[in-house]
Amino acid sequence: MSHRILIVDDEDDIREVAALSLETLAGWTVDVASSGAEGLARAIECQPEAIVLDVMMPGMDGPATFRELSKNPATAHIPVLLLTAKVQSSDQRRFADLGVAAVLFKPFDPLTLATQIEDALGWK
């Protein structure tokens, strides 16, 4: 089943590999944004079914972006999956407390990224 996803990450390599994976392997429609502010605008405009949101970004970081998405009636219903290279348990607890749908970890496997998202969101 096809889905529409928004990827928000300031790292162009991560953004492009994730988009390649989800478009090529899963056949999903992928929108991208390179900052939290751009992500907010794209989310309102594109109305994706889910947002994959990087944690560490300059300016508005992932948690701040998530809070803005949650406050906006146009985007509050969209599930957010945080994407992070932080593996320490204290960081993971902090992210879990934010109320996101799931946390995905970098590095991700391009072959299983779509499945991870589907499993996390109960799409299967």
């Binding site: 790292e11 162009d12 390599d13 991560i14 492009e16 590999v17 390649l20 994976s21 090529t24 392997l25 899963a26 560490m56 999956l81 290279a85 593996v87 879990a96 109320g99 996101v100 749908a101 799931a102 946390v103 995905l104 970890f105 970098k106 590095p107 991700f108 496997d109 391009p110 072959l111 299983t112 779509a114 499945t115 991870q116 998202i117 499993d119 996390a120």
Partner: protein
């Protein structure tokens, strides 16, 4: 909240599709290699500066950020060992380490350089 890390089931791919994806990833590796090499270079120069007791706060923060970014991306291109080494460097640069670890910083950066250079 679910922990999505445990998922192992990939989408099924025909051999031709698998090859196409692998080739696309290889093209992306080539595209982003200069940026990756630049980050490895920053870790090499930071290790040398630390060894010479000349590592500034700004350099340390830059090294920490470079290691973090490498940790996040190298495994995505199949370089799992590169991610492990980068994480070790990120932890070292984010904490107060003593001069005795200078050699380890240099060693880790050198191994990262080799790993990146040897990816086909």
């Amino acid at each position: 909240m679910k922990d999505a890390q445990a998922s192992e089931r990939p989408f099924s791919l025909e051999p031709a599709e698998q090859n196409a994806l692998t080739e696309a990833l290889d093209r992306m590796w080539a595209k982003f290699l200069p940026q990756i090499e630049e980050r490895v270079g920053l870790l090499e120069s930071s290790a040398a500066a630390f060894s010479a007791h000349e590592l500034s706060v700004h350099q340390r923060e830059a090294a920490c950020a470079a290691a973090h970014k490498l940790a996040g991306v190298l495994g995505t291109f199949g370089l799992t060992r590169g991610t492990v080494l980068s994480r070790e460097l990120e932890i070292m640069y984010s904490t107060q380490i003593g001069p005795s670890l200078a050699a380890r910083l240099i060693e880790l950066a050198a191994e990262l350089r080799t790993i990146v250079a040897n990816r086909k």
